[in-house]
Point group: C2
Chain length 367, copies 2
C-alpha cells in the first residue's frame, strides 16, 4: 500500500509517495486464497464471503497506514484498490451460445469505502474486457506517465508473479506503446522453491546461482509452454503457470534425474529468456535502457541473466528513475483511481486490444 500525493491528471499527473506499508497475509489467508484462485474452487458462498473478507483485511491495513502517518480518513481523497483476481479469461468462452470474455476481482471497493470512510475506486479491469480488451496489463498507462519524461526508447519491466513490460517510445506517443505479459515472473521459481525447499522463494536468486543449467529441461519448457509464442496483446496468470504446470515440469525433472538446484537455475533462467524473446519478437525497436521493478528485481540471478540477454543495454532498477521498486503497482492504482474520478480514460487499446479506451474503475462513495 502506498500513500501518494497526486496533482493533476492524465499526462500532467504529478505524484509524491508519502508513505508505504506492506502487510503479509497470514498463512491461513494465503492458503485459502490460493485454493480459491488456483483450484477454481469458489462457490457462490465462498466468493461472496471472500469479497467482503478481503475488503475488510485491506481496510484494516488502511487504518494501520493512517495511524502510522497521523492522517485521518478525512485527509485522504481516494483509495484505489486493484482487488484479488479470482478469474481472468479475456479469450471468449461459450456460455449458452454467447462468446463470453470475463474477469473477476474480489475485495469489494464499496466495502473498503464503508470501512475506511474514504471514497474508493476499484474493479479497474472490467471495463476494458467489456470493450473486447485483455483487461491487462494496466500498468503501461502509469509507465507512460513516468518514463516518457526520459524522452528515449526504453523498456519498463515488472517482475511479479507474472512478468510484463512496457515499451515506451522516445516520443511518448501512446499509439506507439507496446506492452504485454511476457510469461512467468517469480511464479514458477516460487512454486518450485515451496515444493523442493519448503521456502517461499529463492531469496536473491541464491539457489539459482548455485545450480547448473539443464538444457533438456529448458528445451522442455520452451516446447511445453505455448504462451511466449502467442502474439500480443496477451495476458496470463496462475491459471496457466500454476500448480498443473509445475507438477508436469517436476515429473519430467524427476524422470530425467535433474537435481533441485538445476531445476531452480533452469526455471529461473526461463523468466529472463521469455522476456528477451518477447522483446525480440514483438517490440521491433531498439532500446536505450531496461528498467526492472517488482519483487523479481531483488533476484540477482534474474538481473544478471537479464543483463546477459540484453548485453548492450543498461539494465537498471526502476528506483533509478525515481519509482519505488516494491510499491510501483500500489502507486499505479492510486494514479488510476485519480484518472477515474477525473472521468479520464486510462484504458489503452494499443496495449490491451480493446476496441476503444475506457474509463477504468467503479466509484464507491461515502457520506
Amino acid at each position: 500500500m502506498a500513500l501518494v500525493e497526486v496533482t493533476g491528471h492524465g499526462r500532467e499527473t504529478g505524484f509524491t509517495v508519502v508513505e508505504t506499508l506492506h502487510t503479509a497475509y497470514s498463512a491461513s489467508v494465503r492458503n485459502y486464497l490460493l485454493k480459491l484462485v488456483e483450484k477454481n474452487q469458489g462457490s457462490n458462498t465462498d466468493i461472496s464471503q471472500a469479497n467482503f473478507f478481503l475488503a475488510r483485511l485491506w481496510s484494516e491495513a488502511v487504518h494501520q497506514l493512517l495511524n502510522q502517518t497521523g492522517f485521518k480518513a478525512d485527509d485522504i481523497d481516494l483509495v484505489g484498490s486493484h482487488g484479488q483476481t479470482i478469474y481472468h479469461q479475456p479469450n471468449p468462452e461459450e456460455l449458452l451460445n454467447y462468446p463470453i470474455s470475463s474477469t473477476l476481482q474480489i475485495g469489494d471497493p464499496a466495502v473498503i469505502a464503508q470501512l475506511t470512510g474514504i471514497t474508493t475506486v476499484g474493479d479497474f479491469r472490467v471495463a476494458d474486457v467489456a470493450r473486447g480488451g485483455e483487461g491487462a496489463p494496466l500498468v503501461p498507462y502509469f509507465d507512460l506517465i513516468c518514463f516518457s519524461k526520459l524522452k528515449k526508447n526504453c523498456l519498463v519491466l515488472n517482475i511479479g508473479g507474472i512478468a510484463n513490460f512496457t515499451f515506451i517510445p522516445a516520443d511518448g506517443d501512446p499509439a506507439n506503446i507496446i506492452a504485454f505479459d511476457t510469461g512467468p515472473g517469480n511464479m514458477l521459481t516460487d512454486q518450485l522453491m515451496q515444493r523442493l525447499y519448503e521456502k517461499p522463494m529463492d531469496r536473491n536468486g541464491k539457489i539459482a546461482s548455485l545450480g547448473q543449467f539443464s538444457k533438456k529441461l529448458f528445451d522442455y519448457l520452451i516446447k511445453y509452454d505455448p504462451f511466449p509464442g502467442i502474439k500480443p496483446p496477451k495476458s496470463t496468470g496462475r491459471e496457466h503457470y500454476g500448480e498443473e504446470f509445475v507438477i508436469a515440469l517436476l515429473k519430467k525433472a524427476v524422470r530425467w534425474r535433474i537435481t533441485e538446484p538445476e531445476i531452480i537455475h533452469t526455471v529461473s533462467r526461463y523468466t529472463p529468456f521469455t522476456i528477451r524473446k518477447a522483446y525480440e519478437n514483438y517490440v521491433g525497436h531498439e532500446i536505450k535502457e531496461l528498467y526492472v521493478g517488482g519483487g523479481g528485481a531483488y533476484n540477482r540471478f534474474f538481473m544478471k541473466t537479464l543483463q546477459d540477454y540484453f548485453k548492450d543495454t543498461p539494465v537498471k532498477n526502476v528506483a533509478e528513475a525515481g519509482i519505488s521498486q516494491d510499491y510501483k503497482e500500489a502507486i499505479c492504482f492510486a494514479i488510476l483511481a485519480n484518472e477515474c474520478i477525473h472521468g479520464s480514460p486510462a484504458g489503452m487499446p494499443k496495449v490491451t486490444g480493446a476496441g476503444s479506451p475506457a474509463v477504468l474503475g467503479k466509484i464507491c462513495q461515502v457520506v
Copy 2:
C-alpha cells in the same frame, strides 16, 4: 426496465415514467441462473462468466428500449441496475475466524456502461451490508418518496418472489418507517405450480381459488418456517424458500394425501397470512390503506385473502397511487441511481439495521 425522467433528488425527487419494457429470460438462461443461485453451484468460472453474460443480456434490452423510444444513448443520463443476487447472507458466517456478512449481485454495471454507452450505477446492497445492515429491503426509500405525499399511515406491500412491505407514517418521518421481508411472495406457489402443473405460476390465483384449505399443511408451514417469527430487520430469499423448502413441503403433502389444488390453495394463503402476521407483530400502528404492487398483485386469490385478513382496511393496487405495479422496482432503482450520483445516502438504518446511512451503488462511467 423503465425509462424514467427524474427531477431533483432526496425528498424533492419527482419522476415520470416515459416507457417500460419487459423481456423474459429464455428457458436455458432461466435454468442456468436457477442452478447458479439456488444450488450454490457457481465456480469462479461460472460466476465470472455470468457476471459478464447477464450484463450483456440486459444491455441488449437497453438497446431495445432505446430503439422502441427513438432515444439515443447520449439522451440517457444513467442506467440503474440492481443485478442478479446469487448470494445474500447478512447474518455473519465465520471465515478464517472473522464474522463475515456478505451479499453478491452479478451482471456487472461496468459492463452495462461499456455496452450501452451510458453511465451505470449498480451494486446497491453492498454498502449497507458493509455497515452492518441487511442490505435489504431497499424499496422503502422509494416508498417514502412516493407515499409520504398521502400524509396518512399506510402499508406499501410488494409481492415479488419474496413479499415485503413498508409502513409509511402519516408524518413521513424516516425515523418512523418500518419495513422488512414478510416471507414468501410468489416463490412457493410458483415453484409448486412448476412441480405439480408444469406451469410457471398460478395465473390470477385460479387454482388456489378452486382448491380447499388444508389446516394440517397450513399448520405444518407455520411450524416448519421460522422466518415469520424472526424480529425485523430481516430479509430472506431463495436460499430459504427454495427447492429444499418446497421438497420438504411436498413430501408432507404426499404423505397426508393432500390434493394438488389444496396444496396450491393452502400455500397461496400462507403468503397473505405471513403478511398479516408481520403487520400485527411488528408494525404496531393502525393503517388507513394497504397498497399492493409486484407480480403478486395480479393474483386475485392473494388480493382477496389479503382483504379478508385486513378486513377494515382498503386493499388497493399501487397503480391507484400512480405507481406502476409491474415496474415499481425498476423505477425504484432509477431513483436510487439518481441518489447515488447526487452522493445522497439512500441507505435506511431504521429499515436494514445498518449502523449508519450509506450512499448506495457504484458509479461506472463512460467516456
